[in-house]
Each structure stands twice: as C-alpha cells, then as structure tokens.
Amino acid sequence: MTSAIPAKPANPTRNPDREPGVQTRDTPKKKSTKHYSDRVRAERKLGWILAGPAFVVMLLVTAYPILQATYESLFQFRLTAPDEREFIGLGNYAVILTDPVWWSDLWTTVLITVITVAVELVLGFALALVMHKAIKSFRGILRTAILVPYGIITVVSAFAWFYAFDINSGYVNNWFSWLPGIDEDLNWFAQTGTALFVIMASEIWKTTPFISLLLLAGLAQVPDELSEAAKVDGATWWEQMRKVIIPNMKAAIMVAVLFRALDAFRIFDNVFIMTNGAYGTEVLSLLAYRQSISRLEIGLGSAVSVLLFLCVLIICFIAIKLFKVDLAGSQGGK
C-alpha cells in the first residue's frame, strides 16, 4: 500500500516523520527530547496533564486483566475443580499452538478480516464520496441514512441476517432463487463457504458506515485548491483521485483500515449467533470463549486470549511500523 505514495508529495507541508502531538509548523525534525524548545516542552507537559488521568485509568482497567490473564495462562485450572490447580508453565501454549484447531480458526479469522476490510474500504470510499459531494440540503439525511446500520447493536443485526437466510424462516432463498446456486433447499449455515458469506455480508453491512465516516473526514481534509489545480492541468477524474485525493488521504485511509482490521479480527457476535462456530466457521474469539466460558478451563482459555492479544499487537505493529500509519495525522496537520 506504500506504493500509493507519489514520488513527490503533493502536499509539501506533510512530514510523515514528525512527532505525534508536535504540530507546530516550524518545528524541525528532531529525534532527541533534549533539544525541544520551551514551548514544545510546555505543550508536552500540558498534554500529559490533560491525558494523564485517562491514561492511568486505562492502564488500570486494561493492564490488570491482561496481566492476570497472562498469569492464569500458566496454570492448568478448571473453575469447577479449584483444588486441582497446577502450574504448567507454557504447557497451555504448547497445546494450543500444536493443535490444528487453533490454526484453522486463525485462518478463518484472517480470511474474514482481509475480505471484510477490503470490501468495506471500497464501499466505504464510494459512500464517503457520495456524502462529500451531496448537495447541502440533502447531506444530513444522507449521512443519517448511511449511518443507520452502524447504530444497530451487532447481536440484533446478526439475528436479522440469520433469520433472513435461515432455511426455515428466511426469505433470501425465495427472493434470489433466480440466481444460479440458490434455491429453496439451500441451507446457508450448513457449509463453511455459504455460512462465512452470510457472516461477512452482515459484518460488511454493519461496519461500512464506520469506515466511510473516517474516510469522509479524510476527504474533507484534502484542500480543494489541489484538485482544482489538477483539473485545470487537464487531469481526468480518475487521475485526480489517484494522484491527488487518495495520496492526501493516506493517513485517514490507514487509520480506517487499522481500526477496522483490529475490530474484524476480534469478530464474535455474528459467528456466535449465526452458527456458534459450527461447520468450519469458528473464529479465535469464539475459541477463547469456548475454553474459558463453556469449558471453564481458565488456564487454557487465558492462553488463547493472550495469543489473540498478541495477534492484535502484531497487526498494530505491522500497520504502524511497516505501513507507517500516523494515528495523529488523521486529525490533519494543516
């Protein structure tokens, strides 16, 4: 995706290496904190005072469970057999990582993440463009309409999609029987392929508005002068898109992709409601749920959760370090 950056940045004021939070236009690039000016230092201090309490609270409510889960994951511990708790070191991790179930669930999760995020990005961008270009009087209604699916609770939307496709109560088979492969007897939730299709469709329908909203914010940041100048130079719509608008929106796009990828990777509700992991649709969150909540195997379940957490960290690392997602940049550095 880095190839989308043009050789010469279209926006000369953009500096991808700038320190997040240091938004002063004239601050040169500096790696060491020693050389910050008084003003920058005062700004940083204020930043800590403002964000510090929230940071501490977050640390308490997220770090504590993470640490506890990591600790529990080193034990063989079943909630209904409290006396048989036994320290087994990394034994749980060995069981999980040598089990084909973990790898097939990881594969399913990655598949869902990649497909849903890719489709959502395309659809979301189209919707963002529609919202951006819509005439003023129409804009409010349009945005509300597009955002409705996002406002629906996932469990509710999962049930709605489930009942629509269910072989007993659904209408989809009836409505779309003219399509090849769909007939009255198609049981969507009985095979991996069709079941994942419904799960992903529901996921895409529900979260595309989120991506389109983030992209709309990015679109609004692209200065009109740039596309006007390109237009004057004779650039076609596609060229304006590719050379001017998208490169200038890169930060917003990457933030949208990162947020959605993290969300999609932790998918639970849709799968839980529609198939409960049956017939090859199990995802990692459901695997963790099955061990900790259904089996009450706290040790094994915690180990799955810790591994899931590590996967999420890896996604963040890839996005931030390799694709250089600038989390502060989407707010606009202009």
Binding site: P82, W102, I167, F189, Q291
Partner: protein, 438 residues
C-alpha cells in the same frame, strides 16, 4: 434501603398501595429491590410459560410467612444456564438458594461440592414414586444431590396418514429402520435433530443406549482415565442410522441446522411423516391451529408412540431431560430452601405445571390427575417413555463429551459408521486429557 421502606409505608391507602406495589415490582425487576429479609429465597429458573413463577407464589402463600420465594430468570438455552450457574457457584454466590438444573450438568456441580447436601428426610419424601430415569439424573455417586422436579422425554410423533400408507402397524413399537423405510417410500422427511448442538448429543445418546451401549462407560472416572463406549457395536449402529438419514436426505434440506423447533415445523408441513421430539409439540401445534396458522385436520392426523427401537424387539431408551432442583452450598438458608423445594415438587404442583406449561411430572402419581389426560392425550405414552428412558452421560466432564460429540457427528450426512465413532472417541479423549482444544 430507604426507598423500599417508604414504599412499604404507602401501602396503607389502596390507591397508593397500587402505585407502590408497581414501583416495588419495577425495583425488584430492575434488581434494586428491598434488602432481602432472612426468609427470602431466590430461585433461579429456566425460562418457561410462567409456571415456575406461579409455583413460587403459591408456595410462598402456603408457607404462611415461613419463607418467600423470588424467581430470577436464567438464559434460554441449557448450556448458557450452566455457564451462569457454574460461574456463580464457583465464585461462592450466596444468592443461589434454589436452582433449576438440567440433569447432565449436575455431576459437574456436585463433584466440587457446589451443591448443599439433600437432607435425608427430604430425599426420602421427594423421591417416592419418581421415575427411575429422573432419579438417576438427580443422583451423583449413588447419592441424591438434587430433587427431581419435572422430567422430559422424547416420543415418536407420526402422521397417521403416512404410517397407514406405508403399511406400518403403529400399535407395536417400531424400529428406526422401519420409519426410515416408510419415509423413503412415501417421499417424506423424518423429524430428527441434526444441528451441531445439544440436541445432537441427545439423539446419539438415545440411539447408543437403545442399542445397549453407553457413551461413557465409567462416568465417575477422572478426566484422564475416562473410558468411552463409542467404539462398539452400539456406536456403529447409532452412526449407521444417523448417516443413513443424512446421506439419503431423509431429514430434509435443513437437517444440518435443525433443532427441536425446526423439526416440529417440518413435521407440521406437507412433508411431515415421523418425528422424535418432546411433548411441547402438542400444545404448540394446538396453539397454531387455534391461531389459524395450521389446518385443524392436522391435529386428527397426529399420532404418538414410544421412541423407536434400534434393534427389533429390544426396548428403546428414549432421551431424558427435565429439571431438578438444587441448593447452592453457599446459600444462607439451605434448610429453608429444601423446605420450599418440597412444596415446589409436590404432586399437585407437578400436575399443574404439566397442564399449564406442558412439562411432564417426574412423579408418576401426578399423572393420575384427571385433567392431564384431557390436555395431553399422550400422557400415558410419556409416562411409559420416562420409565424406559436413559439419562445422558452423568460425568463432571459432560460439556467436553457433549461438545466433542457435536463437533464430530454433525452434519449427519458426514457421519461414517466405520470411522466416526473412533474419530469422535479419540478426539474427546484427547480433549479430556488436555492435549487438544475443543
């Protein structure tokens, strides 16, 4: 809490009392009720048609102030009910005075001592005339750990027109092979539960038990020593029946996701022939006819018989379900809870519960209530079925066994009598030994 005291004072005036009680009701529902006095018992109930709440109210009144029972609703499916209760019990929640428990999960809760012991005199009084299967379900390691309340069982429902056309004599017990053949020859579908869910375990267990085997041969063993009886003649027979129905498409296109409710809907339709299902089918079908969604002629076409045999001439072992009542070990007042339980499971309450909610009594004496025969013409078959029934494996590792079975035996079309019992057995054993994930 101060709020509740003010509410109580307002009861002097009738109108204010009305408003007051509504407010108290709202507060109770929202979980901020008055501070519980010493004789308030909380009964965690599974969702029903309001029958348990009615019994709670009746017993509260009959106790003359000795105790008052409040009900608290559990999630709708048995697995989630277990999850909630097990976590609360493990955390030492003292509000678990009375719990409606699904029998397969009782050993898991009894083994670590999460249940308060049943006093001998209560055990004696509440087990009189109780069907054997229900008693077995309420017991762990030869000791009664819960009190049998109601007992569920599956019977064979059939469409008389189809049975007649196929030339089956339904006055005698039929076999699975016979109904498979009849459904195939009449081009109808069989009502069975092929979804990857608890209903699959219920089916497998009934088939294996009917063939004279058992899923778990030594239920009291520890996790790493447990022996499964799947690789056996009975296991192969069960797999053969399930795979035949799956492969020949006799369960209809929805078989792989079919639960009890879905099979009932299929049975009520044009392709219905034979179905194994619980007694709820009867009130549900009658209600649909009354509401005008089903043809009234359907009712006259429905017949019932005992669960089909696996081996001709050998009595079948129908599924057993139902609810037993347990008392949490940390309850503040176990003696009072057992006193209330005795009232709840009284013969009259069990009969009333059957008539109003369709849940069959575990006490055979309750079937003598003349109203039962009127509402449930198949009551005698149900009672007979209960006496023949076999519980699901009574082991503390039931959840692993059941989920393992579901993951390896569904969908029915993928079952292979040659390999499935063995794969399934190896998988469950590996999970129990902690070598594999579930």
């Amino acid at each position: 809490m101060p709020i509740s005291r003010t509410e109580r004072k307002t009861r002097r005036r009738p109108r204010a009392a009305g408003i007051g009680s509504v407010l108290v009701g709202i507060l109770l529902v929202s979980g901020c009720g008055p501070a519980e006095s010493d004789n308030t018992l909380t009964w965690y109930i599974n969702p029903d048609d309001g029958g348990q709440a009615a019994i709670a109210e009746r017993c509260t009144q009959e106790s003359g102030g000795a105790y008052s029972i409040e009900t608290s609703l559990l999630p709708s499916d048995a697995a989630s009910q277990r999850e909630q209760l097990a976590r609360r019990l493990a955390a030492g929640d003292s509000s678990l005075d009375i719990m409606s428990l699904d029998p397969p999960f009782i050993p898991e809760l009894a083994e670590p001592g999460f249940l308060a012991p049943v006093p001998d005199d209560v055990a004696e009084r509440t087990t009189e005339n109780v069907v054997e299967g229900a008693l077995a379900g309420a017991t762990w390691k030869d000791e009664l750990v819960t009190v049998p309340f109601w007992a569920n069982t599956q019977i064979l429902w059939y469409r008389e027109s189809v049975a007649e056309a196929a030339g089956l004599d339904m006055t005698q017990p039929v076999t699975w092979d016979q109904i498979i053949e009849a459904a195939a020859s009449q081009e109808k579908t069989l009502g069975v539960q092929g979804a990857q869910a608890e209903s699959m375990t219920v089916w497998i267990n009934a088939l294996i038990e009917s063939a004279g085997g058992s899923i778990v041969t030594d239920p009291e063993a520890t996790a790493d020593e447990i022996e499964l009886g799947l690789v056996s003649e009975a296991g192969t027979e069960a797999a053969r029946i399930i795979s035949t129905i799956g492969e020949e498409g006799l369960g209809g296109p929805g078989l792989a996701t079919q639960d009890e409710n879905n099979s009932m809907i299929g049975f009520q339709g044009d392709s219905g022939s034979f179905m194994v299902n619980y007694p709820f089918v009867w009130p549900a079908t009658n209600a649909a006819v009354d509401a005008g969604t089903l043809d009234a002629a359907l009712i006259d076409d429905i017949g019932w018989a005992i669960f089909p045999q696996v081996t001709e001439g050998e009595e079948s072992a129908p599924p057993l379900g139902g609810i037993d009542l347990g008392v949490g070990a940390e309850s503040d007042n176990p003696a009072l809870a057992y006193e209330a339980i005795e009232c709840i499971v009284s013969v009259e309450n069990q009969a009333e519960y059957f008539i109003t909610n369709g849940n069959p009594p575990s006490n055979t004496e309750a079937y003598e209530d003349p109203r039962i025969e009127e509402t449930f013409p198949m009551a005698e078959t149900i009672r007979e079925s209960l006496e023949q029934s076999a519980p699901r494996p009574q082991t503390p590792f039931y959840n692993e066994v059941s989920t393992g079975l579901q993951q390896t035996w569904a969908p029915p079309a993928s079952v292979d009598p040659e390999t499935t019992p063995e794969t399934s057995s190896e998988f469950i054993t590996a999970v129990l030994r902690g070598e594999q994930l579930l």
